[in-house]
Symmetry: C2
Subunit: 341 residues, 2 copies
């Protein structure tokens, strides 16, 4: 597997990105090449900081431009043809890379993906699918759309469900993924105008539809796929991060208040480490953009080298399975089912 | 202050409601009467379980009907004229009670409030305002709408902001409440169609508007009031509860794994109790329904006696201040400001 990595994207680029790439190239046997795409002077200077780099499996690809985190996505992608994101995307299109990963401007990644790769036939809008840790260690919940589409049609949500199920089966190896529709009550009639329409569509299509679920069900671990519009998905994910951070802040503050407590915290060191790793979003590394013909992973803007390392693993896992074909077939079957043909 | 309490509403009614009422009547000096509204046989049987009840300050008001948690709100309120919720509302309208509290069907409470009390002039839709604990112990964030309106107009969000600011000043005693608009990025242009329109309106009205905020800002403690549509608000609040619960579950599991850890947890007992109380939504007791001419508090369906006790305190605090007048004046001023008259 050859992974094109946007060296310039993210709040901690290029330092953390390069470090993650070096770790991936040094440690991961099935990664034949990590392409570090970015300003070659900057990237090479970063590489110099690492004593051991497996240069057989790490190549620098020059990109003269980069898109900032705060730039308007569509304009930036159109203006900066030679930005690191677009060059990664061209490498995927030209089969020079099997997948791409960026922790940069997520709107720009999604825009560039659609402009360069197009859409899988029948998919109206690609969606970002984020894996959320749940109470069940081996069963994350895939939430989509996590922010690519701020205003959604009910029909798009049905497509999100089909794409999420395909990813859950093919990549996460869930045999029969259970699908929930994010709403404000678990009863059938609850929701807003859009989700009520989506509910009826979801009953018609070939997915294991559980019905409405609430925000409170997300981390309980019963759902494999939960669909919602990108505005709600983004708000929910950021809220969850915020709560986890606030709890971590309070714990640190309380646990180190006096020597007795500090000793208690020392005895619980292992437990606290387990807790931290259970709540750690970085182990999922990145979120696939589903609905484009190619493997595109979007990592969190604040990604550290660990997140990048895990994103390379996840992108490689996605690329080895023929997800595009599966989604293409299922979207076509879904359309036939809804129209009754 | 006289509080009408729906004894039949909530997942743990009547037991926990009656217990909370008894505690309020026994302990709170400025509560002259708690009216327990519900089936008198059931309520009296519950009261018998308590050895000490201050019956000078606790009265049972018979309500022959009750609305279930899963009933369709509008239909149920119209059909069951003598339900506990509606009788509480009539007591507020007739000035027999200064405020009402219900942990029952929140849709039914909102519907009954509008049908019985009407709306404050100029208010299109009343909203539920939920106080969220933040990293700053004395500065919760008031989030509205928390679920009364699933599909919102931008103009309603501007009204929510004005009502939230009034509540924050008059009841929570924040001198100049800072207002955020919940969106999917902090930059000005980010959001969905509705929030983009709301953003422009918010700039025109007389509130201290900070701009867009994200889910990740909610628990950081910088915002006094955050507005959003009721679908998003509900999803965000339930997600936050879910994360807090999952963290609690993991902590319990890890901290009691072996004797060494158990000893560590024992040393941290005080810290863990502080942590628990910091994350405890029950200390806020209930959420005011803002926009109706009367003090109406909606408590969580899972409320225990503690939540009910705190809701009585909060409702009394709201009723002592002339919030309705403040909201009436400010909504009128807002309309004048937007239309430029």
């Amino acid at each position: 597997m050859r992974i094109a990595l946007d060296a310039m994207g993210g709040d901690r680029a290029p330092h953390e990105i390069v470090r993650g790439a070096v770790e991936a190239a040094n440690k991961l046997k099935d990664i034949t090449c990590v392409f570090l795409v970015g300003d070659k002077v900057v990237v090479n200077a970063e590489l110099m900081k690492h004593p051991k780099v497996n240069m057989d499996r790490l190549k620098v690809v020059h990109a003269p431009e980069a898109i900032g985190m705060d730039e308007a996505p569509a304009q930036a992608v159109r203006k900066k043809k030679n930005c690191s994101i677009s060059i990664c995307m061209e490498m995927v299109k030209g089969k020079e890379a099997d997948a791409m990963v960026s922790a940069g401007n997520s709107g720009a990644v999604a825009t560039s993906a659609v402009l360069t790769l197009g859409r899988i036939p029948g998919v109206t809008r690609p969606a970002i699918a984020t894996a959320l840790p749940t109470r069940l260690p081996t069963r994350p919940t895939l939430l989509l759309d996590a922010g690519a589409n701020t205003d959604c049609d009910a029909a798009w949500l049905a497509q999100f469900a089909v794409m999420g199920v395909a990813y859950s089966q093919v990549v996460l190896k869930r045999p029969v993924p259970v699908v929930g529709l994010l709403s404000i009550g678990s009863e059938d009639g609850k929701g807003n105008e859009m989700t009520k329409k989506a509910f009826h569509l979801m009953q018609k299509i070939d997915v294991s539809f559980h019905g409405n679920v609430e925000g409170s069900d997300l981390f309980m671990g019963g759902m494999d796929v939960v669909v919602c519009d990108g505005f709600v998905g983004n708000a929910v994910i950021k809220t969850a991060e915020s709560v986890a951070k606030a709890v971590g802040y309070w714990m640190k503050k309380e646990f180190f208040l006096d020597p007795v407590r500090m000793f208690g915290a020392l005895l619980l060191k292992g437990a606290l480490q387990t807790l931290k790793s259970r709540m750690d979003p970085e182990i999922y590394g990145g979120a696939p953009l589903l609905g484009v013909p190619g493997t595109v992973f979007i990592s969190h803007g604040s990604s550290t080298h660990r997140a990048i390392y895990h994103a390379v693993i996840a992108a490689a896992a996605a690329a080895t399975n023929n997800l595009t074909d599966t989604i293409t077939k299922r979207i076509a079957a879904m359309e036939a089912m809804i129209t009754g043909q």
